[in-house]
Symmetry: C2
Subunit: 139 residues, 2 copies
């Protein structure tokens, strides 16, 4: 049975459950940062997923990317599946900005997270949830 | 018309042309590092690709991941599409090793590449080309 890895649970808040993945918001207001976790037990690498799940994951990743683009107008969007620290397949989708703290390097390992104030967290979750619904309705 | 970005051309050697992407080997022997570039003009983000192309890209990415796993036995595989420096959509697929120079951080921006000696480059290209053929034949 699928259970979300403790580290992901600690670092994020749930936006919504999609068809395959839980969409999470990373609690770091430095970047618009969504994490998708396919709800499949024991999956570590992309190639461990069955091909039909991979196809859904690609569309959910594209939806996250478009949602972030619409809401935050970043330049560009970084997508990554690393697994060096958390051995449960998860896809980062992160809007970047030329003035953000990690630019032009990657966000992973770039420093301590800056947690959202409570009202800003609620607002981000609500707008991302709505944007996911809109984007996934297009497929 | 699609042309490969100069920076990618300078840093890599072609492994093979797949159905959608050129598969390139990053000329850095520190990591088994493949880059996939969809042969579509003007595409920057994953969500700029048409959905059928995205489906093919997912399968080519999984094939690269499995090829690297079979040949190099890494733990784990890092996948990334960043575009902070090169604004042409390209997917990194990198085998990681707990003793590599960037562990557990990301490979991007982790230091100067260590070019392959000529014979090792040829051998890596040949074994990756064969592994891609085997993996893509499975789909």
């Amino acid at each position: 049975m699928f259970t979300l890895h403790d580290r992901l649970k600690a670092d994020t808040t749930e936006i919504a459950k999609l068809r395959l993945s839980i969409a999470l918001l990373m609690n770091d207001s430095s970047f618009p940062w969504v994490i998708l976790v396919p709800m499949r037990a024991g999956v570590r690498e992309l190639h461990d997923l069955a091909p039909p799940d991979r196809a859904v994951l690609m569309e959910e990743t594209a939806a996250a990317s478009r949602a972030i683009e619409r809401l935050y107008r970043p330049d560009p969007i970084n997508i990554g599946a690393l697994g060096n620290i958390v051995p449960q397949l998860h896809i980062h989708v992160v809007g970047r900005n030329k003035k953000d703290r990690a630019w032009p390097g990657p966000v992973w390992g770039s420093g301590a997270p800056v947690p959202y104030p409570e009202a800003a967290l609620k607002a981000a979750l609500a707008s991302l949830k709505k944007a996911f619904q809109d984007e996934l309705a297009r497929f």
